[in-house]
Amino acid sequence: MTYQDKTDTTEAQAVAAPVLELEGITVAYPRYGESDHVALDAVDLKIRRGEIVGLVGETGAGKTLLTRTVMGAIPGGGEHTSGAMRYNGTPFTDLPDDKSPVRPAKDIALIVSNPRRELNPVLTVGQQIVNVIRHHLGLSEKEARARAVDMLRAVAIPDPESRMDAWPHELSGGMAQRVVIAIALSCDPGLVISDDATSALDVTVQLQVLNLMKEMVAGSETAALIITRDIAITAHYCDRVVILYKGEVVEEAPRDAFFDRPHHPYSINLLAAFAHSPALREAWWDVPPLADGTRPACRFADRCARRQPRCVSEAPALRDCGAGRRVRCHYPVEAGT
């Protein structure tokens, strides 16, 4: 079964270095008098040119932290303790640094989730886009303004010329979201990362914004990483799905294969949230508690309906299971089980 609505990546693209390659990214928060809180644990991720990857996890899984790590802006004293990041093969560590070989907005751009808080309240929409365009593309004020208006038009903002002078607080949520998309795509980046960018929007506007993002990415060969807590989005807008649980990748698979047969018990739990048979849902969600004080080796064990004694003592590794799939589980749901 395939629901492919994107052309297959060509051979040449597959051979070239991935647009983004994360290898063993680990981020820890030091804790007073305790061992560090490892918020991201050896996260691997590859995104190829023109590919849209969906990263799904619940609140606190580390989705925003992963974004912030890539963007070189880890919040609240967290430390990037190990791992490598490469953009088109070029290693980078600190994106915002003026001397970094890979630059934010120009190479890797971010679409934020709360634009009315993340746009500067005392600068007009136009000024904020122009700032980014001028700095990265070295255009004159006039050229940059013209490009900014084009970008606003491209994201379907009505009457873009007059919107240039609007203040952020005058925009609706959907309009503000379009503005940050315009900023993100204004310098033709090789990769855009969208962190929960549509979760605050109405379904109608969410759909418009997602379609817009997809069109703009497809038209420019830009790759995209769509980060979300809503797995339904990935079913329609992504080529590949990666599931993050408590800072670890627990499953990765091409989209169609994933939705036909998710392997990891947590992935099934996520889907069960949308299912409408309370009995089936309960079967997956109602798990007998672990014995008091147990610290299971598998991070998901306390919520896992397929848990066995081995899961408590031995941590599962992220293992390759062919056809571009990986799963971190001793007892995954595979064919025939």
């Binding site: 339904a232 329609h236 047969r261 889907l271 949308f274 299912a275 409408h276 997956w284 089980t337």
Partner: protein
């Protein structure tokens, strides 16, 4: 038997420093039966919350009536008057909102009972019952709000609302701030509570996939007016208002095969409710709009019994051939996926 009847409810808010009015509600009418779940859906800004707030007496309507249990509500007969105290309760969107950060959640949960003048031991007994019902251990209820996850807090908020055994609970977007998993848990909880207590719900939400399987009847609102009201299966299977169709078509379901239909895509955004033009509120976004739509508000019509719609073109949307909606299809699909690898102890 009708429990709550909202009749031609109008609410206009003045705009400070201007003579304009925010026309939040422009004549909303519906009825809720005892023990049923009635859902209000629509984009943000369509007036759902205003209806809920008027019902629980947080705001005063500009005109129109709210009749609860046969008698109209008024400034004398509101949800705080002795006769009605504890019979209408509410749950808000932000789980933290109903809790004092320095008090265990259990303390907040029994608070409504104090206003009923219930004594200490009865209160404790009632609390134990409710905790059992919402499946929350006493130890959890004794924690401070900050120590609970948003899902758990919302569970406690539901407990607090039902502790007085109300006839009606108004739930304003109770699941919107939650992750999908926590959301589904709250929905399951609401269903099981209703089975046991026969409480009626006024469920306000913009999340249609939640509404689909929770609700008996649904009311689609837009810009302060009712677009369509009817039994949930009918409205979901055969929606007759372009807005309902567009809204339902925007819902993403978690399977690649369940694409969003191209029918009645809603372009643009909900306009500001300041100085609305006459006629059908949807006219500025409707793919079927024609000059007649802008002349006057379309009259109510009943394409099927109990299925009301305000659209002059509703017959164009009729689809006799359809036997199941996308939500239903997903239901079947998800059942199949969930059966795979079901743990032995259950299977």
């Amino acid at each position: 038997m009708t429990l709550l009847s909202v009749q031609d409810l109008v609410k206009h808010f003045p705009v400070s420093g201007s003579s304009k009015l925010v026309k939040a509600l422009n004549g909303v009418t519906f009825e809720i039966e005892r023990g049923e779940t009635f859902s209000l859906v629509g984009e943000s800004g369509s007036g759902k919350t205003t209806v809920g707030r008027a019902v629980v007496g947080l705001i005063e309507a500009t005109s129109g009536a709210i009749v609860f249990d046969g008698k109209p509500m008024s400034w004398k007969r509101n949800i705080r008057s002795p006769e009605l105290r504890g019979r209408i309760q509410f749950v808000f969107q932000e789980p933290g909102e109903s809790f004092n950060p320095r008090e265990p959640v259990a303390a907040a949960m029994i608070e409504p009972l104090k206003y009923l003048g219930m004594n200490r031991s009865d209160r404790d007994r009632r609390l134990a019952e409710v905790l059992e019902l919402i499946r929350m251990p006493m130890a959890t209820a004794m924690k401070l709000p900050d120590d609970l996850s948003p899902g758990m807090l919302q569970r406690a908020a539901v407990g607090r609302a039902i502790i007085t055994r109300p006839d009606l609970v108004v739930l304003d977007e109770p699941t919107s701030a939650l992750d999908p998993t926590a959301r589904a848990e709250i929905v399951d909880l609401l269903i099981s509570v209703q089975k046991k207590m026969e409480t009626a719900y006024l469920f306000i939400s913009h999340d249609l996939s939640t509404v689909r399987f929770l609700t008996d009847r649904i009311c689609v609102m837009y810009l302060g007016s009712v677009m369509e009201t009817g039994p949930a299966e009918k409205v979901f299977l055969d929606p007759r208002h372009p807005y309902s169709v567009g809204l339902m078509a925007s819902v993403l379901l978690p399977h690649p095969s369940l694409k969003t239909p191209e029918r009645m895509k809603l372009e643009g955004e909900i306009p500001s409710p300041l100085d609305l033009p006459p006629g059908c509120p949807l006219a500025s976004r409707c793919p079927l709009v024609e000059p007649a739509c802008r002349e006057r508000m379309p009259l109510p019509e009943y394409p099927q019994p109990k299925h009301l719609v305000h659209c002059i073109n509703h017959h164009k949307l009729e689809r006799a051939d359809v036997v199941s909606d996308r939500f239903e299809t997903f239901h079947t699909l998800s059942d199949r996926i969930l059966r795979q690898g079901l743990p032995e102890r259950v299977a």
